[in-house]
Point group: C2
Chain length 361, copies 2
Amino acid sequence: MSEYTIAVLAGDGIGPEVMAEAEKVLNAVEQRFGISIKRNAYPVGGYAIDNHGEALPATTLLGCEQSDAILFGSIGGPKWDTLPLEQRPERAALLTLRSHFDLFSNLRPAKIYPGLEALSPLRADIAASGVDVLVVRELTSGIYFGQPKGREGEGEDTVAFDTMRYTQAEIRRIAHSAFKAAQYRRKKVSSVDKANVLVCSRLWREVTEEVAQEYPDVELEHIYIDNATMQLIKDPAQFDVMLCSNLFGDIISDECAMLTGSMGLLASASMNGEGFGLYEPAGGSAPDIAGQGIANPVAQILSASMMLRFSLGQAAAADAIDAAVVQTLADGVLTGELLDTANRHKAATTAQVGDAIVQRI
Amino acid sequence: MSEYTIAVLAGDGIGPEVMAEAEKVLNAVEQRFGISIKRNAYPVGGYAIDNHGEALPATTLLGCEQSDAILFGSIGGPKWDTLPLEQRPERAALLTLRSHFDLFSNLRPAKIYPGLEALSPLRADIAASGVDVLVVRELTSGIYFGQPKGREGEGEDTVAFDTMRYTQAEIRRIAHSAFKAAQYRRKKVSSVDKANVLVCSRLWREVTEEVAQEYPDVELEHIYIDNATMQLIKDPAQFDVMLCSNLFGDIISDECAMLTGSMGLLASASMNGEGFGLYEPAGGSAPDIAGQGIANPVAQILSASMMLRFSLGQAAAADAIDAAVVQTLADGVLTGELLDTANRHKAATTAQVGDAIVQRI
Ligand SMILES: CC(C)[C@H](C(=O)O)[C@@H](O)C(=O)O
Ligand SMILES: CC(C)[C@H](C(=O)O)[C@@H](O)C(=O)O
């Protein structure tokens, strides 16, 4: 029997309640596929600040190091927004985990599920043509981590600075992630940059062109970030894989998520070169609806599916979860935010959606 | 009689043909408002490269220096895309002009005109709630111009870097532009940043908060760039003035333009502290449709209106142009890209739209 150990970091807000549903789903695939996934829960985020004095306690980090993957919930909330930036949940926990485990390859799929076209904020004819994009975002370099970063001087002369910085090796490895992913999709990579202004983008173009030679079956195009932002709205169906630097990927992936109109259905993977990864929902901790049992657990459940696929090598189990999710949505078992006002009384609870997915596995 | 001198830089692609219509409109307001606007045409962009060896010849720059304002067309095209970056039209002409004249304050209004809601790529109910945003973009600092910027090393160790850099003084003056503009609008400033990651953004927040004290009638909110990109699509009506750094303003202003679905109707102003400015359409040189007499001249005509308002102090003339444009659109005198396929045979030519606006002044 294949045995795995994962670190479960549920975090704040709706994190714990949607994680409970993902655990039900993991139980179901353990049974059906004869695998064992040992789960150790660790504190993270605001909860960890309140109970252990910091957003990423040493025991949590150690627990992650001893695991095959991290299943992450969501962190943060107004309660911790007044802390100094370095101590806040997002930065102290999420950015530190990305950097510590060298999770450079961030995959953020965004698609409109069949039957849910009306949720898209796009005009009906554009939504009907489809959104099915995979954003491949570089996650451990660029302006997020480049040095120097700081401030100097006094009064009006105070100057702040951040450094966008990329090495050829950093660009090369994320480009490979994008081309590999495209080979399993519609075989097109749109590399997003600002090569008319940024030197980093020019190196990005050069390296991407070079890597493209190794994937003759995949088409490569370059697009400026400002134009990409527009084209996504006008004609999202033109995009398959979008390859982005850290900052541009932050922007583009959120735009793609919004275009689907169903953020609660989107998961993401952040992986290093050894198959280790952190898997988390695209949405935030949503403190306003936490504890009411109405949050959508699908993104968390699909995070578990991505984990099975990419870190645990259990593609069949991942396929089963994905199919069960599609079926559950098609059967109309939906949380309230996916329903229009007239049908909101038919909303399923967080647990009902989780149970429906388990039944279909 | 008030007399002014302006530099007319028509540029490439559709630039010259839409500029011809803007000149007709300037003739009309000269007559009606008893002002004189002397116009000197200078080469710029790809045209200047072909004929004078560089995108911004010294005579052009000198001509601009001797003028009250620059009326700019559009530049660039595939023909010049293979030149080294520094010599290309966008960089060598546009970025140099911005920097040379310290045109730090870039105003980019985007709105859906009455009757043209169906052009918006947004879902009908969202488009109906309206888009009417003024992006105030810092234009002469940030990662566009920050030093150091370059590359070093060899092979896989090659590293490229760009510096995002802002002084308190630079942030303060653009914040004032935004708050002043908001006082004449719906009195709300949404300052776009990435303060959870960038030190520049933290200084940006501090200074913006400080400046806000001087405008107690204007509401200030801070929003992360990733969230702003999403909220604009979900609920654009929540935004009035969006205050952005150079890079974020590039992205957000193009997103706003696309949300209206009518880029050919949008103009922009780039001004310094002395009232001098460069005025240009939001769209590009559109080489694919150049010379056919089908390009929309409205953005160029509204650029002339902004010039009259902001650099020449002729608000009444600007109001007359704006009203004539609204009337022309309402009367259905529209270029082809504003019409659906069924009505495209009713398309007016570039010159017909220009003439219709002149008639209504
Ligand atoms: C919380 C924040 C630092 C983070 C980022 O910018 O990467 C988030 O927006 C994301 O996209 O995961
Ligand atoms: C052409 C390019 C350098 C320019 C910019 O990025 O500022 C353009 O996109 C704009 O928005 O005016």
